[in-house]
């Protein structure tokens, strides 16, 4: 019965086009360069598991038969899911080779051990979203067009995107190092527990700042600088640096 169930699951996965690549790794960080539409979730395990739902019609052309796709660095797909994955010191590095083999905007799902941080960079139009869930180690993101959604994270982190929106829901606010969320043309929306201690730096030259926190605004020689474009202050008597900036859109800092 057990074997039958396993066989059925495997058949369903194959029919659905699901593919997986696993590599044992712990600690350090997962470096992702140019990987489209990624969902990352931390779990209690010791392997990094890349999975993808391939396009049903994804086939190599007859002309390319026997050849391998490579990228500008000469790297090749060593995972059969369109990624070049390699160890980089204590880190694990994954670079997408060519176009994503994934179904429309589904992208890659990656499970990482809880001991790992993330360093994600993407510069083209091809990645609509990045979702990160349940990661307690450092997250560094640098994108041009990707929307970023963070859930049950703690920081430290540094997120920047030119066109993307940033939404972050914090399980707690790690007091070890800074949290910064920056977008030029997108909004920044952060929800942190109401008891979080933070030193705030909020700035949006052309947008509006919204919050339900009671912010203690910093004073200079007893004078408070009041502007709706730039606020420096503290919540719950201050703590780690929490930096939220948008060039042209609104900033939302809310209690979770």
């Amino acid at each position: 019965m057990k074997y039958l169930l396993t066989t059925i699951i495997m058949c369903v996965a194959l029919i659905a086009g699901a593919q997986e690549y696993k590599v044992a790794h712990n600690g350090g960080k997962l470096i992702l360069e140019g990987v489209d539409d990624v969902k990352i979730e931390a779990y209690d395990g010791s392997e990094v598991i890349f999975s993808i739902n391939s396009k049903k019609d994804h086939k190599e052309s007859e002309r390319a038969a026997g050849l391998k796709p490579i990228n500008s660095l000469g790297l090749e797909d060593n995972t059969d899911i369109g990624l070049s994955v390699s160890k980089d010191g204590e880190n694990l590095k994954a670079i997408q080779i060519g176009q994503c083999m994934c179904r429309d905007n589904e992208g890659y799902t990656i499970k990482i051990p809880k001991s790992m941080g993330i360093d994600y960079s993407h510069s083209t139009y091809d990645s609509d979203h990045l979702r990160i869930k349940n990661v307690n180690k450092e997250i560094v993101v640098s994108t041009n067009y990707t929307n970023i959604n963070l859930e049950d994270v703690t920081g430290p982190m540094s997120i920047k995107t030119v066109y993307g929106d940033i939404e972050a829901k914090f399980a707690s606010l790690n007091q070890n190092s800074s949290v910064s969320l920056n977008s030029v043309y997108g909004f920044v929306d952060a929800a942190i527990p109401s008891t979080s201690k933070a030193r705030l730096n909020l700035r949006t030259p052309y947008g509006q700042i919204y919050t339900d926190f009671d912010i203690k605004v910093e004073t200079t020689d007893g004078m408070r600088s009041l502007t709706d474009k730039k606020i420096e202050g503290t919540v719950n008597n201050g703590g780690v640096d929490l930096i939220l900036k948008s060039g042209y859109e609104n900033i939302y800092l809310r209690k979770k």
């Binding site: 510069s123 560094v140 640098s142 430290p156 982190m157 540094s158 030119v162 190092s177 640096d241």
Partner: protein, 250 residues
């Protein structure tokens, strides 16, 4: 009694009525005495006008003791006379100098404490800039917000990060931190130079925004170069174009 003693006795009210009348008559007749008297009178007036800072309890106690000893030693009169006033004035001068030196020392001590605090901050900042963590380095840069006026070492550290840090996130944080000191020529020059070297779009936009808000004319050439470059994204060209408009030179 010589002239000097007469003058002093007169000014201190030690003469009898008859002696005073006689002395005043001598003054009218003797221009040399009159001139000498005027000098002493001026000195007395100036001594009266000296305003002493309130001394500390210890200093006052020491001074009182010294004064008492001096009075006991003089034995000549129970009242303080100009003869020993010179000594008293000397002591008073020492007292005043002591107070002024003390005040100066206190100020120096305060400034020294600030310098020491700033030096600690700079040292902490530099140390944390070696962190392997990107957010750790960004946090180190946030220390610069504690400096209301630009410290040379702080500016150097920020500029070095803006130019050399491998993470664009840290370079962006460095530009944003330097934005607080954008009126400094060293910062403006570094920004202009970085315009032609920076590849990250977000950092470029931050540079363009600061330079245009500050209306830095030296940025015009590199901004025009960006608007005409083939390998630059359109949104960066748009920002550069807007920057040129803000500098009002287009």
């Amino acid at each position: 009694m010589n002239k000097e003693n007469k003058i002093i006795d007169y000014l201190e009210g030690q003469m009898s009525f008859e002696e005073s009348i006689k002395f005043e008559q001598e003054l009218k007749k003797d221009p040399v005495l009159k001139e000498e008297f005027a000098t002493y009178q001026l000195m007395y007036n100036e001594v009266d006008q000296i305003k002493l800072e309130k001394p500390s309890i210890t200093l006052k106690s020491n001074f009182d003791h010294l004064l008492e000893t001096e009075i006991k030693n003089s034995r000549k009169t129970k009242t303080l006379t100009f003869r020993n006033i010179r000594n008293v004035a000397a002591v008073a001068a020492i007292l005043v100098i002591g107070i002024l030196v003390g005040q100066n020392w206190t100020q120096r001590s305060f400034i020294s404490k600030i310098d020491s605090h700033n030096a600690e901050l700079v040292s902490e900042m530099k140390r944390n800039m070696n962190s392997e963590s990107v957010s750790g380095r960004i946090e180190a840069l946030q220390v610069s917000h504690q400096f209301k006026s630009p410290e040379n070492e702080v500016l150097k550290t920020l500029i070095k990060s803006m130019k050399n840090d491998e993470s664009p996130n840290v370079r962006l944080a460095a530009v944003e931190a330097l934005d607080n000191f954008a009126k400094e020529e060293i910062v403006r020059t570094a920004f202009v130079k970085q315009l032609s070297q920076e590849k990250d779009p977000f950092v470029l936009i931050a540079l363009i925004n600061t330079l245009s808000e500050q209306k830095v004319e030296k940025a015009i050439d590199p901004l025009q170069h960006i608007t005409n470059a083939n390998d630059v994204a359109k949104f960066i060209k748009d920002e550069a174009h807007m920057g040129l408009i803000k500098i009002e030179k287009i």
